[in-house]
Symmetry: C2
Subunit: 350 residues, 2 copies
């Protein structure tokens, strides 16, 4: 076969503010690839299907200022960007992979085709019948695992208790609220637009509100106290949750977006920290890929969650944009909270 | 026998600032008691030996502003004050108690003699040979239990790890630092005067410093990172500990004095909260008399700690003042941090 186009996203310059297509990155269509003949040197040729864009991606765009907490190298100027993605093996010279296999990788090149350098980053998946491969970078993948592992390890959820979940329309929060409803909890959910509030209600939240127009504290005073708080934001929302926590509440600290985006450097002004002692609250910080969490919960996740998603008993919410060229614009959307559920850039449908 | 004096501390008026003898309370020597003839109505007559003064006592002096978290009634004007204390039974009409028994109570009247109204608050103790009864309101009593229960339940201490303990010269902190040393940890300890720093070093702390003259953050940067933080103060000290926490650190939240005494109402300015997520820290708030903690650890405490204290393998630090009339002045000392170890008012030596 003749060579075909192999478009790529090339990193141009470190972030100053929000990422901008054409400035932060270039959509480069100048490369071609001969899918039949290109040498694999013992590796695999992957057709990229879907890419995840998420706040972590922005961290990789910060050059020398990349947060040390991200265990990946910063993007290099003139080189393709990369991130979580799902693809299909077109050819393989490695016995671990066969033509037709689906793979996910946290460092998949933002390209139409790629020959991954480090095969140990590739994880083979067998999509549940009825479940698109893209779900394996969303509810059946890292965000879903983060939600499930943290929930199982730390929530100690009991029927009849009350959960408050922030960023409930996001890829993690939308799973959390459904897991809590399945356990018979009352769910209070916050999101940042009225459209997201509607989505969150449709997923089963008992109380849903727009935190930009409604006081978190007032809602929790009325609908709380809360037994479990799933925290994605920190700051004043965390403080309001502490102020409305029940005795022996469990706070699951999954993210603190408010602090990561704090430009003032002044930190968060917390008035209710003493409730940690007085109400005997446990706050558990975690990240989803901690080895001990995988050991405890990976098997149960793999055996249950993809099936529930395929049957529709758990809903996944994807915000899909078609076209590799939209990676950088999609990231900007996520950073200002415009996405509804998991933001997916579809590079190819199959 | 002829009636004898029964001096009492009488509550006068709710706190405005620090408690003042003669203003907040009166030392009243006008009562007498006939120890042989006074009717007990099925109760017991107790000679008060030692009284505890502690921040909680100040809470009971706040009248209608008593913090709701203190599960005791506020002091009533014109009535005797009360608190944790140890006494000896002089006479008993109750089958649960005999002449010569030692008892502790959280609501022992601040008097020379008393006939407790609610016998269910009285707990009989059998002092370990060589251990003065007063230790049962200190290291062998509530503060010691608080330290032991919290340490056993939440520290997950490992040999070679590093502990940071604030208010290390206090009745709880001084036990914590010794428990940590017994487990082979490196101990960093802070206290509020140079004299306390000396005491803390004599108890075995590897690093001890005066937080009023030395930056907590600088010490922890040099001597950390810390695996366990025993927090008695909250606020900026907690923030510095978060900034210097090791991966998977455990923070045991025993008290937040800084917030309880915060007069501004502005709360604490926290810059390092995001480390809870990034360094996967668990913060556990607790109070020592939570029923589940008693269930887990009371037996082991009773079987081990008094013996260790009697043998001198654990040291208790008492700051003793002799004379019932010094209760209120002693409380003021505790509130400004003048006490070294557990503040005890000795009413009678036996």
């Amino acid at each position: 076969m003749a060579p075909v186009r192999n478009a790529k996203i090339i990193f141009n310059q470190p972030l100053a503010g929000l990422p901008e297509p054409g400035k932060t990155t270039t959509y480069d269509t100048s490369s071609t690839i001969d899918l039949d003949a290109i040498p694999l040197s013992g590796g695999v040729l992957v057709k990229v299907l879907s890419l995840s864009v998420e706040p972590l991606t922005a961290g990789l765009m910060m050059g020398p200022n990349k947060p040390a907490s991200i265990p990946l190298p910063a993007y290099q100027e003139g080189q393709p960007t990369f991130g979580f993605g799902v693809g299909k093996v077109l050819r393989s010279e490695n016995e671990g992979f066969q033509k037709g296999d689906y793979i996910v990788s946290p460092v998949l090149e933002h390209a139409e085709y790629t020959i991954p350098t480090h095969l140990n980053f590739l994880q083979k998946i067998v999509p549940e019948p009825g479940l698109p491969p893209s779900v394996y970078i969303g509810a059946a993948g890292m965000p879903g695992q983060t939600a499930f592992y943290g929930w199982k390890e730390y929530s100690k959820a009991k029927k009849g208790e009350t959960l408050f979940v922030s960023t409930a329309a996001g890829p993690v929060g939308s799973i959390i609220l459904q897991l809590a409803k399945r356990e018979g909890m009352k769910v209070i959910a916050s999101a940042g637009t009225d459209e997201k509030v509607k989505l969150v209600k449709s997923l089963g939240a008992d109380v849903a509100f727009n935190y930009k127009t409604t006081s978190v504290d007032e809602v929790l005073q009325k609908e709380g106290p809360i037994d479990v708080y799933w925290d994605n934001v920190g700051g004043s929302t965390l403080d309001a949750a502490l102020g409305n926590a029940a005795l022996h509440a469990r706070f699951i600290e999954c993210g603190m977006i408010s602090q990561l985006t704090d430009q003032t450097g002044n930190g968060a002004n917390m008035k209710n920290l003493a409730n940690i002692v007085m109400r005997r609250i446990i706050l558990s910080g975690f990240i989803g890929n901690d080895p001990f969490l995988l050991e405890h919960w990976e098997k149960e996740f793999n055996e249950t969650i993809p099936k529930l998603l395929a049957k529709g008993e758990l809903q996944y919410v994807e915000d899909r944009t078609v076209g590799l060229e939209h990676v950088t614009a999609g990231l900007a959307e996520v950073l200002v909270g415009k996405n509804m559920g998991k933001k997916i850039i579809v590079v190819s449908e199959e």
